[in-house]
């Protein structure tokens, strides 16, 4: 399971392991991960290290935390399709702290930025919007 003598850090090994369970469907959307204490005991590592691993998955947008109920596999949001218009430019970045609260964005969710030819910008949560080029 966890190899303390391995080259890869323990918390990354645990993150890999949990990520694998999520991607394989063993842990489905909405399902709870074991508690931090439980994971620490199961793998004989400290809670600090468990939190590092889960922190990794949070920044990847794979899990969300509902404190103090637990940590859950993220449920995909319904996606809204938006049509690009001529001359639009599209980029993506992480939201600022202000934008996060403004759009009620979860952790690990980027924003899509559409810049029109006149220079005006529109910001969309990347987990709820997909852009199309007709």
């Amino acid at each position: 399971m966890i190899d303390h003598s391995a080259d890869r850090a323990v918390f990354r090994q645990l993150a890999d392991l949990l990520r694998g369970q999520i991607e394989s469907g063993e842990l489905g959307p909405g399902e709870a991960l074991p508690s931090e204490l439980r994971l620490a005991q199961d793998y004989s590592i400290s809670r600090t290290t468990v939190r590092q691993a889960i922190g990794q998955l949070r920044t990847e947008g794979l899990v969300t935390v509902d404190r103090p109920r637990g940590t859950f596999v993220r449920i995909p949001e319904p996606v809204q399709l938006l049509q690009l218009t001529r001359g639009d430019k599209v980029s993506a970045r992480m939201p600022t702290d202000v934008e996060r609260r403004r759009h009620k964005l979860a952790e690990g969710v980027p924003v899509l930025v559409i810049t029109a030819p006149d220079g005006s910008e529109k910001v969309h949560p990347a987990d709820r919007v997909q852009l199309t080029r007709p």
Copy 2:
């Protein structure tokens, strides 16, 4: 500076403070942040807490770490323009750990995913690519 009795966590207050210095230009691109030890001493907090604050800025893509030289305000990458073709769909998300290494992505940088009508996907680092709709 730091208010231990405040509602906002200490590490968030420090992150806010450093983010403010970056956004105001007081800390310009490429400039080094004070060392973790230095920040800990300056604000009379533990290095652990300093690392939490800097970790926050890393996930926001504002700073990069060049270990063990120091932590620096990120320098914007040159942007390559890519033309979208008819029927393309565009989304963005955070990369997995594997993708991060594969594309040599910095922390806090999302990826742009272009899905062609045939279902094939192409992944681009969002800090080096901007998409255009001709």
